[in-house]
């Protein structure tokens, strides 16, 4: 089953239900996708720092929530930007939020490290688009 690279997706979101649905949806799209969940930015950052040199353990895609306790999405982005010098792997970051506020979308898309902004609810189509191109 190692005919192609197994895509690795990391979700940074404190919402357990959202974590559950995203994982199930990804499995339905492609059950080879590896999935990792962090409940806040700091947890994720810790992991990324520890695995900065090991490309195969780093995610290809990060789905990042804005509103989280402890370290929110914006704070994570700031810290992640500092890590760019040690992480070689090109990681695509998608910001996802339940906010229907245009300002959040604008701000997210203006971040250099952010590939795109997706508004919740997440759907199979949206997820497929996020991992599309790399999944098959």
């Amino acid at each position: 089953m190692r005919s192609h690279h197994h895509l690795s997706v990391a979700l940074i979101d404190d919402d357990r239900t959202y974590q559950f649905t995203t994982e199930r949806m990804l499995q339905r799209i492609d059950d080879h996708i590896s999935f990792r969940w962090f409940s806040d930015g700091e947890e994720a950052l810790l992991y990324l720092t520890e695995h900065a040199g090991a490309d195969d353990t780093l995610p290809d895609i990060i789905i990042l929530d804005i509103n989280m306790p402890y370290m929110n999405g914006w704070q994570f982005l700031d810290a992640f930007h500092q890590l760019r010098s040690v992480i070689r792997k090109p990681i695509r970051i998608f910001m996802v939020s339940s906010s229907a506020d245009d300002r959040d979308a604008k701000r997210a898309r203006s971040q250099v490290d952010v590939t795109d902004y997706i508004e919740k609810p997440i759907t199979t189509e949206k997820l497929s688009a996020i991992i599309g191109g790399r999944a098959a």
Binding site: T17, Y18, M25, S99, K120, I122, T124
Partner: protein, 479 residues
Amino acid sequence: MTEAIVLHGPNGVIRYAAPGCERLLEMPSDEIQGSNLLDRLDESERKRVKQAFVRCALRGQAYGPTLVRAAAPVVRWFEVRTQPVRDRAGHTLELHTVIRDLTARIRFHEDLSMREALEREANELAAVGGWMLDLRAGSLYWSPEVRRIHEVGEDFVPTLQSAVDFYAPEARPVITQAVEETIATGQPRTVELPLVTARGRKIWVRALLRSHMEGGRAVRLYGALQDVTERKAYEEKMSQLVDELTWQRDRLAEFGHIVTHHLRGPVCNLVTLSDMMKEGRDESAPREDEELVDHVADAAKQLLATFDDVTTAVTSVDTDHLPNDTIDVQDMLLKIVTGLSADIQRSSARISWDITHCPKISYPTVYFETIVRNLIENALTYTVSGRRPVIHIRTWMDGTSPCLSVADNGSGIDLGRYGDAVFRLRTTFHRGRSGRGTGLFTIRHLIESLDGDITVDSTPDVGSTFIVNFFKYRPEQGT
């Protein structure tokens, strides 16, 4: 000034007129002789003047000077002065009358007093008065309006010292400095300061100071003084209104945040879950279906909890009318602690209080209980494992506003990081704790709706102190 000198009989018929009478009498010079002087006077005056002429002729007495109204249509005033002209035997031959037109002078005085009256009224209306300080003589003059502003009578003799003493104690150094600077630099100054009138009324005045220089030195200080109490009160009201609007706007922004993050989030989850249930029914295991249902229930519960919190916050905003109760703090603390006894025993927490400086607080009982219970519950929740929780409650007065603090030795909050988020809905500061973050949000709304304030002082791993100032923003708190 125009003048006419005429000789005439007691009946007023002119026998001779000196040159230059035409203007005053408003007649061609050749018509004057033979005409009647009385005709040049207003009808209403003729009888009186004629009688005077007759008396003058018969008794040989002088008449006038007297003010007489000239003939219509234009209003003019003559000053009339009549002397009898007698022969050697002492018989009156004719009357010698000098007429002066005083209209211009009377108008001038009328205008002047009218202008003065107008100025007085305008000053009174604007509550502006004038003053002057003669630096050489050391005397101070106050206009009637300045006296009225100070509520002193006409007999009050102001001095520089007594004028300064009318200002509120905190304003005296300011006005003194303004006087000194105006004398020293010659530059005009304007100050707005509180003043206490002779009747003890506290008002606000705007004082304008100017100096009159002679030979490079100020010899006189003068200026205006205006009562601006009303405007000040208005400004105060405006600023309160702005504060209130800003507060409301912030609440609205916060409500927007709650709606997008705390209400929309669970709803999005419900949408996704129901989609998955529809899509996945045939191929997924029954086990997964069960998990989906559990998540649906979780999302619904979360939604309900948020709704409840928001409802409490929103309804608490409109509670100005809620009556205050006199709360016995000791009784209330005992009641709360009894209610929490299970938690207290489990954590073997030590709770103490010092309420001697404010044993009774006037506040709606239900709110007070909610606020204090929440703060104690928080202190019991965010503890450091292996450390016995120590909670101390204190009450005191800040001016007329009662205050209460709850201090703990718990895990504390990194205020550098969360400072502004402490009192927001569902903010969790403690990893691995299910802290709802709801309590602080709700009680902040309760406190603010009654013009109070809640603040926190905290050091991570050392503890937190929450301070409630119940009526911090209430301008006049009873007596």
